[in-house]
């Protein structure tokens, strides 16, 4: 079941590479949040029940419901166009993300360490680097925010690998989610959206030497 969920999670990255509409990204976030809840349930078997409940609740309420809903509100409020506006064609992005996943598999299998959960590690590393690529290859600021949230999901996945030994680190991951999402989305919702309608990074290039 864990491997199935991890494969499903990695497939969402390929879907993100070819997504044309902003709404698709929101569905990807919802799906990833749900998968992470399932993985938390199956992976964190050696920690206190209340802690597992807390982590699953954070995943379901925050990652799966609140943040996508909040983003949906931003898209509607600022009348952001539906297109994702990538710098590169989707096909090229698909190739690059596939290469990232393959490279993650090659690197992880070459690591000679019996203490790491390799499949989990592959999914996490693929997500982190794919999200960084997506941030670089997208024009809209709101897409950067969404890809940053995908990056956070990858980091959360990584934290699950040490979750049984150090549950504190998973809790820190939750703090990171809340801090970054609230701060970034808060600025976007309250400030950028008011000043710039449908902003892309080209509008934020005025600070010069």
């Amino acid at each position: 079941m864990i491997d199935f969920l991890l494969i499903l999670f990695t497939m969402t990255l390929l879907y993100a590479a070819i997504a044309n509409r902003m709404q698709t990204y929101l569905w990807i976030l919802i799906l990833q949040g749900a998968i992470l809840s399932g993985l938390t349930y199956f992976l964190l078997t050696n920690i206190e029940v209340y802690n597992v409940v807390l982590i699953i609740a954070e995943n379901l309420l925050f990652k799966t419901i609140a943040v996508p809903w909040f983003l949906h509100t931003i898209l509607k409020r600022n009348q952001i166009t539906r297109e994702t506006e990538p710098y590169l064609p989707n096909f090229v992005s698909l190739i690059i993300i596939t290469a990232i996943i393959l490279l993650s598999i090659v690197i992880t299998t070459s690591i000679n360490d019996m203490f790491i959960a390799k499949n989990l590690f592959i999914a996490a590393i693929s997500t982190i680097f794919s999200a960084l690529y997506l941030i670089m290859s997208r024009k809209k600021i709101i897409t950067h925010v969404i890809c940053y949230l995908i990056l956070e999901n990858g980091v959360f996945l990584l934290s699950l690998s040490t979750g049984n030994e150090m549950p504190m680190l998973v809790n820190l991951g939750i703090m990171l989610d809340i801090f970054a999402s609230v701060l970034i989305l808060g600025i976007f919702f309250n400030k950028i959206g008011d000043v710039l309608k449908d902003p892309d990074v080209g509008l934020l290039r005025n600070l010069k030497d």
Binding site: D113, E165, M166, L183, I187, V195
Partner: protein, 474 residues
């Protein structure tokens, strides 16, 4: 307990400043915080060890906290002058929010320096990003928005990188069952950590802290932040926040020094520092924005500090001395920048000049600041840089020494040509009737801080040298 008392007081005062709209109460709260900060720093200086496992009162903490106390109080004073003079129509709420963010930022920085645990350090790094973003957005215009957006976004990615670094470090300790991520515990069990994961962890840790340190690769967002934040806040970002990043990396590097990865880490840090120094040299020759020029100069000094810690005990001594002295000198220049802006209403080098004519006391302060920053004797930084060059020579790193000296020459040339232009060359256009009269008293701190740096560098009080010597944990 004292730590939790101080955190509670800071929280109450920070909240009070943010919600209160009465001017007198706001300044009273700020005054109370300054008193609490002095008491706290004195307590740390006089106490041997913290009662909390998450914080440490070692010599490095004492050194950084005392510096923080001096600079913060000067920044509060200039912050007060700034909000009263720069924009008299500013609402009490906006002023309160500014000081609230300053209080939270100073508290967060103090506890990054004091923390003995990676996770605790990380939490305060998050808090510092949050409070710094409020300060950067203080002017609430499109440029400030650009600055804050870049800082927050890159800051969030940096915080994530630090977190990944912590996760890799926990993986490094899995085999040896090290679950306690305190610096002291990791230092004790450094040999048992898995070198592969430790390497990866250090790379991510360095990447993450680069935005705080103004170091490659994330320095760009920190330059924008220092440019857009009001100068008193910029002074904190350009000295205390950089120190906090440096202290965290230094503590981590000390762990690596106990393992076979020492040489690898040395090479990584020296190469990164040389690239940073090169970037600083390139920008310093072409920068025309006075505030950004001061920010880029920070990259130069951080690079020197990073090179210093890789050079053994003498180098580390030079680096720590440089950290303190740079923290005293750089804020003085940021405070002086405020007066330059009041005179010319511009931060562009093309719009300023003949500063001696319009603000004599300020011009002398700027001249002293320039001498101090370029390490020309009797600048305090001359001592730390000479020690650093000696260490490079003693370690047979002649090539690095030559490259460093060459790049420093370019940086000094860039800084000097701009500062001399401000001081002596007449501006192209100026309406002299609009120039305000600035009281010489407003430059007091700009004189005191570089002189204090000279005193610490040349007279070297026993307690100060003792703290630096004990802070060498490599």
């Amino acid at each position: 307990m004292e730590i939790y008392y101080f955190l509670t007081i800071s929280g109450i005062i920070g909240t009070g400043l943010a919600i209160n709209r009465k001017k007198f109460i706001n300044y009273l709260l700020l005054f109370l915080y300054s008193i609490a900060l002095i008491a706290y720093s004195t307590h740390i200086a006089l106490t041997q060890e913290s009662h909390s496992a998450y914080f440490t009162f070692d010599s490095l903490s004492k050194l950084s906290t005392l510096t923080l106390c001096i600079i913060s109080i000067a920044a509060f004073f200039h912050g007060y002058r700034y909000v009263e003079k720069h924009n008299p129509t500013e609402t009490p709420h906006s002023k309160g929010l500014f000081f609230s963010a300053m209080v939270i930022l100073v508290t967060a920085i103090a506890h990054i320096n004091l923390s003995n645990h990676l996770a605790v350090s990380w939490i305060f790094v998050e808090l510092s990003t949050l409070s710094a973003s409020i300060l950067i957005y203080h002017h609430r215009n499109i440029r400030a928005l650009e600055g804050v957006w870049k800082y927050v976004f890159v800051g969030a990615i940096s915080v994530t990188f630090i977190y990944i670094g912590i996760l890799f470090l926990s993986t490094a300790g899995k085999q040896a069952q090290i679950t306690e991520l305190s610096y002291s515990n990791l230092l004790q069990h450094a040999q048992a950590l898995n070198p592969f994961w430790l390497k990866l962890s250090f790379i991510f840790f360095l990447l993450g802290f680069s935005i705080k340190m103004s170091f490659i690769p994330m320095y760009t967002a920190s330059i924008d932040a220092k440019d857009k934040a009001p100068a008193p806040a910029g002074a904190i970002l350009a000295s205390l926040l950089m120190n906090a990043g440096f202290v965290a990396v230094y503590r981590y590097y000390a762990i690596l020094c106990q393992t076979p990865l020492k040489t690898w880490a040395q090479s990584l840090l020296i190469i990164s520092a040389l690239v940073s120094l090169f970037i600083a040299a390139v920008y310093m020759t072409r920068v025309k924005n006075i505030k950004r020029m001061l920010a880029y100069s920070g990259i130069e000094h951080m690079s020197l500090m990073i090179i210093g810690i890789t050079l053994g005990k003498t180098g580390a001594f030079a680096a720590l001395l440089h950290m303190v002295l740079h923290s005293l000198i750089k804020p003085a220049l940021f405070f002086q920048y405020n007066q330059i802006y009041w005179v010319y209403q511009s931060k562009s080098i093309y719009d300023v000049g003949n500063y001696f004519k319009y603000n004599k006391a300020g011009a002398i302060a700027l001249l002293i600041g320039w001498i101090s920053l370029t390490a020309i004797p009797p600048s305090g930084l001359f001592v730390s840089e000479i020690l650093l060059f000696q260490s490079l020579f003693a370690n047979h790193m002649l090539l690095v020494l030559i490259v460093v000296m060459l790049l420093l020459t370019i940086i000094i040339w860039g800084l000097t040509s701009n500062v001399l232009k401000i001081l002596f060359t007449p501006p192209l256009q100026i309406n002299e009737s609009n120039i305000p009269t600035i009281s010489p008293w407003e430059s007091t701190t700009q004189y005191i801080l570089p002189v204090l740096a000279v005193y610490l560098a040349y007279f070297q009080p026993g307690w100060f040298i003792d703290w630096i010597s004990k802070a060498i944990i490599l």
